[in-house]
Symmetry: C2
Subunit: 317 residues, 2 copies
């Protein structure tokens, strides 16, 4: 049994706790927040046995084996370092850190400390994306794909009103690319591997973050366009076009269905059964790694590849 | 009454003749082809009174006022020059020519000869695209748009079999960008004006043409992605995302319906009534210009803007 604490009290941490309840190898026991009242309130809401506002105490506790970090992106690195230094395993919400170099340092620290570091990129561990990958050979030579995650955040209204909001704060690694853009990037890497080159453009908003953006990832004979936004919305499906057919699927971060339309007129619908909260998969993977059943090299490679693309997109702005 | 001849005997010329039948100011009287039998057969099929395989004779005939050019793209320029030199008006199928410089020369020649030159870019003259433009203010600040035309050509199978096919022949200005990509470009220019910068990537196929491609057009605060393909298919709608809502519409070259989804939950469906064959609109515009009711400066500007983007995309490959 991996006894876990959480850092962060926003919706994503709530979702993590709910998903972890479905993984027998894990028990979330303690909610941490700098604010003791908030920690206690959140622990009560999520039915956790304990709360804490003393990070050093939490990290030196023999009753905690691992920590999930769901705090604002900009403090992930520092908190992950502290967890690793305390000899505990760490599952850090995406994006783990803003740069490849930072993740390499973190991974080395984890390796030196003999603990597991894993980035919680939920679509990387969702079997539905494997199922989509399994359908690709039916499409023949792949030529074009469009992957997108565009969802307007209600908190954008606060930005427009002149307020500072974590998720739109560039100093905290906020913005559309970090928050939503990483999902289509991760899906693309999983389905097609690393591109040869990336072109991109961003839509800046007040406060300095990117509110939306788009990129073209260029492969040998294939071009993938990526689209992401936190200030506008889209319901369009994702799409992969091959010379023999076209596949669409509903959601790049949590696919539940796909439609395969072949050149010969055949249309087949595919639905992917799985838990509604697909964070379950990344938690299972984390538990498996902590149990020593595998090593995290491939997981780290995927995180690093995502960050390389994130950095290329950011450098182009 | 503008008495017209046609050059070219493929499907697009047939569609032009069918559309022209709905425009009282125009009468298509003669089908030209280098091959006399083909010209006669095509004229019979299209119920035209006459056919010709003698281009000089046709162009010197006092019974012809104007010519529609629907031949392979690579011979448009030479044929349009001949028509203009003969003192006849010319409606030339898109893309009129491959480069901005060539169209400038053609427009100057037309002006000097006192005849009308018009590029037949059908979505530029379709009122449905105006109707879409009229809905844009409801979307608030525009941030992202996706315009696409991806349709697999059966003739691609011939390319794969090693045959040379006009529409995929780079020497004849074939390929996906020239054939289909110009439609989303023209729609974009009409809806958003000229972008600041264009990034692009193409998918080369055997024979040297582009089989598909994608581009990002960058505006101040807005990014538009363009997608086109003749080797793969897509049924996805086009989309324009604003901060207050999202608009989707069915077809970038012949829009028939749109859905406006606003932030407040309001969803409205719009249908655009009009002739199924929307070449009617460009023929009406041509007739209006020939009648001297307006001058073609704005039309030429639009053609030139499209060609500037086409050239940027081609140069990037």
């Amino acid at each position: 049994m991996i006894r876990m604490a959480t850092i962060g009290t926003s919706m994503i941490t709530g979702r993590f706790i709910a998903a972890a309840a479905g993984v027998p190898a894990v028990a979330v026991t303690t909610a941490y927040s700098r604010d003791a009242d908030r920690a206690a309130r959140f622990a009560a809401e999520m039915s956790l046995p304990a709360s804490s506002s003393d990070l050093d105490g939490l990290l030196s506790s023999p009753d905690i084996d691992a920590v999930y970090i769901g705090s604002p992106n900009g403090v992930h690195a520092e908190q992950a370092e502290a967890v690793i230094a305390a000899g505990k395993h760490v599952l850090v919400e995406k994006p783990a850190v803003p740069t490849e170099a930072q993740f390499i340092r973190l991974a080395e620290a984890a390796s030196d400390a003999g603990v597991i570091l894993l980035e919680a990129m939920r679509n990387c561990y969702d079997p539905a994306l494997d199922a989509i990958g399994d359908l690709l050979p039916e499409l023949g030579v792949l030529r074009r794909a469009s992957l997108a995650y565009c969802q307007r955040s209600a908190r954008y209204d606060k930005v427009l009103a002149g307020e500072r909001v974590n998720i739109f704060d560039p100093a905290l690694a906020g913005g559309a690319l970090f928050d939503l853009g990483v999902y289509p990037i991760a899906a693309m890497l999983r389905l097609f591997g690393e591109p040869v080159r990336v072109l991109s453009a961003s839509v800046p908003i007040p406060g300095g973050a990117d509110g939306a953006g788009a990129a073209l990832a260029i492969y040998d004979g294939l071009v993938v366009d990526l689209s992401y936004s936190k200030i506008t919305a889209s319901d369009r499906v994702n799409e992969i076009q091959g010379e023999s057919g076209t596949l669409t699927f509903d959601h790049v971060a949590e696919p539940t269905s796909a439609t395969l339309s072949l050149l010969d007129g055949t249309v087949t619908e595919h639905t992917f059964d799985g838990p509604a909260n697909n964070m379950v998969h990344e938690i299972r993977r984390f538990a498996e790694l902590v149990a020593g059943e595998n090593d995290p090299t491939a997981d780290h490679e995927r995180t690093l590849a995502t960050l390389r693309i994130v950095e290329q997109i950011r450098a182009a702005v």
